[in-house]
């Protein structure tokens, strides 16, 4: 367990047994798409084109890709402030993300939400919001709806380690456990809340202890291992669908950028800079690429082709977003209330 928190470990190629080449390529494609999309955002935050606050999750791509690989469109997924990956992993909708971040009408929230309010109901992404922990009770309520629907739907709440310091988190776990609600709690433990390391915020860095106290089944895994996450989530989600019981998954990871914006160490200075160098070795994309090359599933050339094709998609999508129109002025008032 302690090794999960030590970046010296878990840096080797991933185990890929049990996965077909198509699925593995899909994982790789999805992670690279997210990585490169966020790098595109970083570039445009730095050059001043993007004004809206963006919380980048570079380094954490495996989590959303692994979790999303086992979900159905009828499941209900909720994100938080760092949710570009959660949004992209379900539908690869680059245009929806880029346009939204630029406040354009073609954005996922019609330009009314920005980076922190993404939605794609066609694939069950029901919304992300930046108030820390706020979507945990909301996802728990989606699970209550799923339970009443009796169709085997699952609700998913993504949140970070900081959110577990909020009361809403503990209240929600208690509610879900007591009322037997089909919800998958995904804690992306990247060890930082904004600038502050978890050791300065909690007496233990292992978040799954809270699930144990609420009698919710849980596991703590390497958050940079997409195959393990996918495999484990499949079992967890099957169990949730069959039993209507919640499940708690803690995924240990590390964010390569600062809390908000494009810089790598903007919040926390030298110590983080040193740590970051070591944590970069646990790169979820490189570890999968290594496994794919060593197992002769893909060649370096075909991986290069994937990178090039995604670069092209991002370039084209960004251009469309830049060319997009802003929302009509009447949206400001017309969207406040429904008509009844």
């Amino acid at each position: 367990m302690d090794k999960l928190f030590d970046p010296k470990y878990f840096n080797d190629e991933l185990a890929i047994e049990g996965f077909g080449s198509q699925e593995l390529t899909k994982f790789l494609d999805a992670m690279i798409l997210i990585r490169k999309a966020e790098e595109k955002l970083a570039e445009n935050i730095e050059n001043g084109v993007i004004k809206c606050p963006c919380h980048l999750g570079v380094g954490q791509e495996a989590i959303a890709v692994g979790v999303s690989s086992v979900l159905r469109n009828s499941d209900k997924v909720f994100g938080a402030h760092r949710s570009h990956s959660h949004f992209l992993a379900l539908n690869s909708d680059l245009d929806g993300l880029f346009s939204e971040v630029l406040g354009k009408e073609s954005g996922s929230s019609k330009g009314m939400g920005g980076s922190m309010h993404l939605i794609d109901r066609s694939v069950g992404f029901e919304g992300s919001v930046p108030i820390v922990s706020a979507t945990i009770p909301i996802a728990t309520g989606a699970a209550l709806a799923a339970k009443l629907n009796k169709k085997g739907e699952v609700a998913v709440a993504y949140f970070g380690d900081g959110a577990t310091e909020e009361g809403a988190f503990h209240e929600s776990l208690n509610l879900a456990s007591t009322h037997k609600l089909p919800v998958l709690y995904i804690c992306e433990n990247n060890l930082f809340s904004s600038h502050l390391h978890i050791s300065l915020r909690q007496p233990s860095q292992r978040i799954a202890r809270f699930a144990e106290s609420h009698l919710i089944e849980s596991a703590t895994l390497d958050g940079n291992n997409v195959t393990e996450i996918s495999k484990h989530c499949q079992k967890a989600v099957d169990k949730i669908r069959n039993t209507n019981r919640p499940y708690f998954l803690e995924l240990i990871t590390y964010r390569w950028k600062g809390h908000v914006g494009y810089r790598e160490d903007m919040d926390v200075g030298v110590k983080r800079k040193e740590d970051l160098l070591v944590w970069r070795n646990r790169d979820p994309i490189r570890r999968l690429e290594l496994a794919l090359i060593n197992s002769k599933t893909l060649t370096q050339d075909s991986i290069n082709d994937i990178h090039a094709s995604i670069d092209f998609r991002i370039k084209e999508s960004w251009k469309r977003a830049i060319d997009g129109v802003f929302p009509e002025k009447n949206n400001l008032l017309d969207l406040v209330y429904s008509k009844k």
């Binding site: 209900k76 909720f78 954005g107 996922s108 929230s109 019609k110 330009g111 009314m112 939400g113 309010h117 939605i119 109901r121 029901e126 919304g127 919001v129 108030i131 706020a134 945990i136 009770p137 909301i138 996802a139 728990t140 309520g141 989606a142 699970a143 209550l144 709806a145 799923a146 009443l148 609700a155 009361g167 809403a168 209240e171 929600s172 208690n174 509610l175 007591t178 009322h179 929302p327 949206n331 969207l335 406040v336 209330y337 429904s338 008509k339 009844k340």
Partner: protein, 326 residues
Amino acid sequence: MKREISYAEGILEAFNYLLTNHQNVFVIGQGLWSPWYVGASMKDLDVKYGKERVIDSPVSELAVTGAAVGASICGYRPVVVHPRMDFMVLAIDQIVNQAAKWRHMFGGKSIAPVTIRGIINRGGEQGAQHSQALHSWFAHVPGLRVVMPATADDARDLLVASVLSDDPVMFIDDRWCYEHKSQVVDIEPVRLDSVEPRVLKEGNDVTILGIGYSSLLCLEASTNLEKDGISAEVIDLRILNPIKVKNILKSVEKTKRFVVVDGGWTNCGMAGELIARVMENISISDLSASPKRVTLTDAPAPTSSNLEEDYYTKSVDIEQVVKTMF
């Protein structure tokens, strides 16, 4: 056929109507399986509709309100009940940051049609944290419809309208109204956005506007003022947000005197807002007297009975203020 019901019975009828006719309605909150928590207004609902649709909850205002918001996003019409508004403050993130903004910030692609029932329960030496009327706070928030019935028919019909509205609604009822009686016919659902302030009693000399229980005090005061030869028009606001002033303006243009009576505090309260709305739209020279407000003094509710006696507005306080305008 007309029949008489009380305010508490009106709320109960609304719940029965909603739970019978709308399978996506459920109710959640503290005390829903207890016979005494919410007066007679929810009697035996759990027995009739089952504990799966009438859910008594852990002591978690925030998560329970959030869960209702989440279920509403997923197609349900939950009513989350806060038996005392003071405790509802613990849930404010879900009400103000989440439900109220959900539609707008997602470009209209999703809605959160939850009804949050906050009950005002005051008097009886309950003190500072068991007596608050915080409706003005919530009326400040765009996206949140705020409803405050004064009469038994409105308690019933506006609760039905709130739950059937596609927007999040804060429905605030007042225990002091529970015995008030109205004549009603069978429920005919109305659209919440069509509801206007209502003239409860016509008059010519002064417009007295009430909010929730205060409207009943205004009616009482108007009866007494008649003895002094003052004909008061009493209007019940009903909907605090979004606010509609057309009927109020029409009345003030007629009576040329305007008093607002509100059971909330003075500073930044509904009474000040309503006076401002009217004054912005009327020529001062058309008024026979400066507008007045009758509100709570800016102090927490006391416990001691002799302080409580002064703290809450009585109809005689309204009468006195009105008389100064002639």
